[in-house]
């Protein structure tokens, strides 16, 4: 029929993050994507940081001094939150994929979120205390 381009009606990756009209599972997906992208970006930053070691002790030490800033600390807490959420949600999806708890996926997601918040609080508070 009449659609010469046959381009699907989609905004591509922007539709991943559009929360309008999404239900609980969809929110779980959005958080999963966001945490995945965050962790990927962090992985590269981490590798760059490790690269400083190759440049000698001074470069590394000056970087560590720089990294004591509160903003970086905030970033590290985000990594903890993202890592916990992504890991725990991964377990939820893996369980579902073995046919376990599919009909309780919402409840499992609430559990994942609760554990993420609790875990983040514990780690976050310790990190701030140690700062």
């Amino acid at each position: 029929m009449e659609n010469p381009e046959k381009k699907p009606n989609t905004r591509g990756i922007w539709d991943w993050f559009d929360p309008r009209g999404r239900k609980v599972g969809g929110w779980g997906f959005i958080l999963n994507r966001l945490s995945a992208i965050g962790l990927t970006v962090y992985l590269y930053l981490h590798l760059v940081m490790l690269g400083k070691l190759a440049q000698g002790p001074e470069a590394y030490d000056s970087f560590i001094a720089f990294a004591k800033q509160p903003l970086i600390l905030f970033g590290e807490i985000l990594v903890i939150i993202g890592g916990l959420y992504h890991g725990l949600n991964g377990i939820r999806i893996a369980l579902n994929s073995f046919g376990v708890g599919v009909n309780a996926q919402k409840q499992l997601l609430y559990g994942v979120l609760t554990l993420t918040i609790v875990g983040s609080l514990i780690f976050g508070l310790r990190m701030i205390a140690a700062h």
Binding site: K23, G25, G26, G28
Partner: protein, 248 residues
Amino acid sequence: MSEEKWTVNFVVYRKKGEGEPHYQTFTLEVSPDEYVIDGVERIWAFHDRSLVFAHACHHSTCGACGMRVNGVEKLTCITRIRDVTTNGGTLRIEPLRNFPVISDLVVDMSRLYVGMDKVHAPAVHPLSMAPLEGEGIKPPREVPMDDGKEYLRLADCIECGLCISACPIAGTAEEYLGPAVLAAAQLQGLNRAPDLTAIVDCVDGVWRCHSAYECTAVCPSNVDPGWRIMDLRRQVLAQRIRRWFGAA
């Protein structure tokens, strides 16, 4: 149905040929107990004969009238106006996502039909393949046919495409089979239809799903594709495990 009358603004997505899409507002007096498709059909009948929209059965057995209503995929023939807006409120009517738009509210769903064909999804199947639940009323099941043959019934999936539109991954993975197709494969079972394993056990099959469960949230026809995709994964995994031990 009450005598109550509401005034509702239908904000309708319009697109013709190569033209740019835009939204057009039609203000209608409706009964809140009417269904969204009734309003859309009245826009065509009394306001603008150029409107292009799809519909056929008006009672959720054909799956033609899927649209996005205020951003959520709905089968408009069973969506009461009362449940999606208020008196004086707005109904934003858009075509489904992740399919090419033919015009206005109509999309080209060949993607779905090609997939359903590929997994030879049964349109009519034995009752036992998907039994009917009772829910407190004597369920008409496990009653043999007069001549001892098994009952047949029309499949639950009406191929409306809502699940593909709601799937956040279907937009970025054009080759993804999609929820309805995987659900149709699960319905048959990999043991009964072993040729399906190769079709579904691949990146654009069960493993493309990212468990947003939006398909199940929008399915108007009791298919529960989210659960079926997960069960299909279980079947695939079980087959692999059996194969490992079988080979050993």
